[in-house]
């Protein structure tokens, strides 16, 4: 498969990274090389092999429905790039709503 700079740009948009044109040119062949190297997994992955998402077979790990102290609000907002009215201030959001 060929991975063009345009393909990489689409993926970067999905991943919210504003790559420069230079980066796209540089990354596309590297990423293609990586994808070619890892594509071999398809050869051994027979349909009858179940996928493994978790290394160890734990199930049903729960916590009781008990309220624990939250962080003090000063701590919550201390790391915020910007805060206003006890809330995180962020640039305008391009919404679902038009």
């Amino acid at each position: 498969m060929a991975l063009t700079p345009e393909d990489v740009a689409k993926l970067a948009a999905l991943a919210r990274i504003d790559l420069t044109g230079e980066e796209l040119q540089h990354l596309a062949p590297q990423l293609e090389g990586i994808l070619e190297a890892v594509a071999s997994v398809q050869q051994v992955a027979d349909a009858d092999i179940p996928p493994t998402s978790h290394a160890l077979p734990l199930t049903n790990v729960f916590r009781p429905d008990e309220v624990r102290p939250s962080l003090p609000r000063e701590d919550v907002l201390a790391g915020a790039p910007a805060a206003e009215e006890d809330r995180f201030r962020v640039p305008r959001i391009l919404g679902e709503e038009a």
Binding site: L14, R16, S53, H54, L58, T59, N60, V61, F62, R63, P64, D65, E66, V67, R68, P69, S70, L71, R73, V76, L77, E84, E85, D86, R87, F88, R89, V90, P91, R92, I93, G95, E96, E97, A98
Partner: protein, 497 residues
């Protein structure tokens, strides 16, 4: 842009609507889905947050057991199969009110699937197939600043509060609902109302649509006839009341019908319902929509409810709302119409408890659906939030039946109880509201009334007994409503008969 719409009857004559409903329910657990922060409503911004629900680097989720139990109970109440093994999945998309930029949800392995419910549409049963019910987490809330209306459009920036972030949600998805025809909007409304009652009876959610603890997204598409393949659908969001469910679907059907009639294809998109204008507007179209890149959540281990656990939970299920309603209708001797009023005013549980406290069913209905519903309406509160208990209503009715007070005085007693003046008997005492049936006190008032209305007295003497009403009224007025009306009548007739 306001789209053209077609007359509803005309639209339904030309097209067959197919609906799909997605309902999100906020569970009323004490703590959040994956952390110990409180879920209590209305706290100051960002005071119910921690590294987990803020999505801080390094924090990890741990599943709330009660939320899983609620999910299973909801699944069982919807006649679903419960998965023997299922996982959480990450739904990846960037949005500022979602701290991790992925939502922990379930994808191809929901905890409950393949169920059905039977809802009541104007007295007729309608079966709706349930596709799935799955667990997920809520997002934070954004406040849009700088725009004229507080809406996202035109805002200069936004302020984020993550108190709701991570509150447990159950998403309930129907299979395509066909065969509803012109009644489609009513069917949708009946379904959401049914879910609301069911979830309330399960005790798993506050189900307050106005507070957002029950939210509905309505999909609808049109096709020329029931044999035709499904048409292109739209998904209408922000439908936050039962009335809106019905209105939004009705609008969307007429809008799509107008488009199809003029040969314009319907765009597959998300639309937003506007309560004020009664219309929907387009959001982002699905072509530019996100690829969610679901994959199994590696930070959480699979949920594998044992069959014993599922059966234990099944044993905790309340009677199904429609069966319970049928049973109570028969037990209480209400008419269908009376029962519908009871249910729609949210009085069913209250009446049941009032009857259990010894009150006659018709009297209980009269107080709750009449006087009390009126007062709740005036103050904008829910019926069950009024500061009067079913036991107090039963006591009130006992006082009426014992003749201590009459209906008119009972209204003043209710006012006293709601004002926090104590039990009904105490209010009667402290406000001096008991009916006077003492002949000496009543006799003087009767004599005064006869003296003041000689022409009426003459009529009664002449045999026009029905004219006694006017004199009774005069006595009542004189005694500020506290006279025993029956005794007053006897005394009048004894004097003039």
């Amino acid at each position: 842009m306001s789209a053209a719409v077609m007359d509803y009857d005309e639209a339904l004559a030309a097209f067959d609507p197919v609906m799909g409903l997605e309902v999100h329910v906020e569970l009323s657990t004490a703590s959040k889905m994956f952390c110990g922060c409180s879920t209590a409503f209305g706290a100051p911004p960002n005071t119910q947050t921690c590294p987990v629900c803020l999505g801080l680097p390094g924090a990890l989720p741990v599943v709330n057991r009660t939320a899983v139990e609620s999910a299973i109970r909801i699944g069982l109440a919807l006649n679903c199969s419960i998965a023997e093994w299922c996982r959480f999945a990450r739904k990846n998309y960037f949005y500022p009110d979602m701290p991790k930029n992925y939502q922990i949800s379930q994808y191809d392995e929901p905890i409950a699937f393949d169920g059905w419910v039977e809802v009541d549409v104007d007295g007729e049963p309608f079966r709706i197939e349930i596709e799935r019910a799955h667990m997920e987490e809520d997002t934070g809330k954004s406040l849009h600043v700088g725009g004229s209306t507080g809406r996202i459009h035109g805002a200069s920036h936004s302020l984020l509060d993550y108190n709701r972030s991570g509150v447990p949600l159950i998403e309930i998805v129907t299979k395509p609902i066909t065969g509803a025809g012109a009644r489609a909007p009513e069917v949708a409304r009946a379904y959401v109302a049914h879910l609301r009652d069911l979830l309330r009876a399960l005790g798993v959610s506050d189900v307050r649509m106005e507070q957002g603890s029950l939210r509905c997204d309505a999909n609808v598409s049109l096709r020329p006839d029931p044999a035709a393949p499904l048409g292109t659908r739209t998904e209408t969001k922000n439908v936050n009341s039962l009335r809106s469910v019905e209105r939004a679907l009705r609008y969307e059907i007429t809008r799509q019908a107008a488009l199809l009639r003029e040969g314009t294809p319907v765009t597959q998109e998300t639309r937003h319902w506007h309560e004020d204008t009664g219309t929907t507007t387009a959001g982002r179209s699905k072509e530019t929509a996100e690829d969610y890149r679901y994959f199994p959540e590696p930070d959480l281990v699979p949920v594998a409810p044992s069959r014993e656990w599922v059966e234990e939970l099944r044993a905790t299920l309340p009677e199904q709302p429609h069966l319970r309603r049928k049973r109570l209708l028969a037990e209480w001797g209400y008419t269908e119409l009376e029962m519908r009023d009871v249910v729609s005013s949210g009085a069913l549980e209250l009446i049941e408890q009032t009857v259990a406290a010894g009150c006659a069913p018709q009297a209980a209905r009269k107080w709750w659906v009449g006087e009390l519903a009126r007062r709740a309406n005036e103050t904008g509160s829910e019926l069950d939030a009024l500061p009067i208990s079913p036991a107090q209503v039963a006591q009130l009715q006992q006082l009426v039946e014992a003749g201590t007070i009459n209906d008119k005085l009972a209204r003043q007693v209710i006012e006293g109880v709601l004002a926090g003046e104590g039990e009904p008997a105490e209010v009667v005492e402290s406000r001096g509201l008991a009916v006077v049936s003492d002949d000496d006190a009543l006799g003087a008032a009767v004599d005064a009334a006869i003296a003041a209305n000689p022409d009426v007295a003459e009529k009664i003497r002449g045999g026009k007994v029905q004219a006694a009403g006017a004199l009774i009224g005069a006595v009542m007025k004189q005694m500020r409503g506290q006279a025993d009306a029956a005794r007053v009548r006897e005394l009048i007739l004894a004097r003039l008969g």
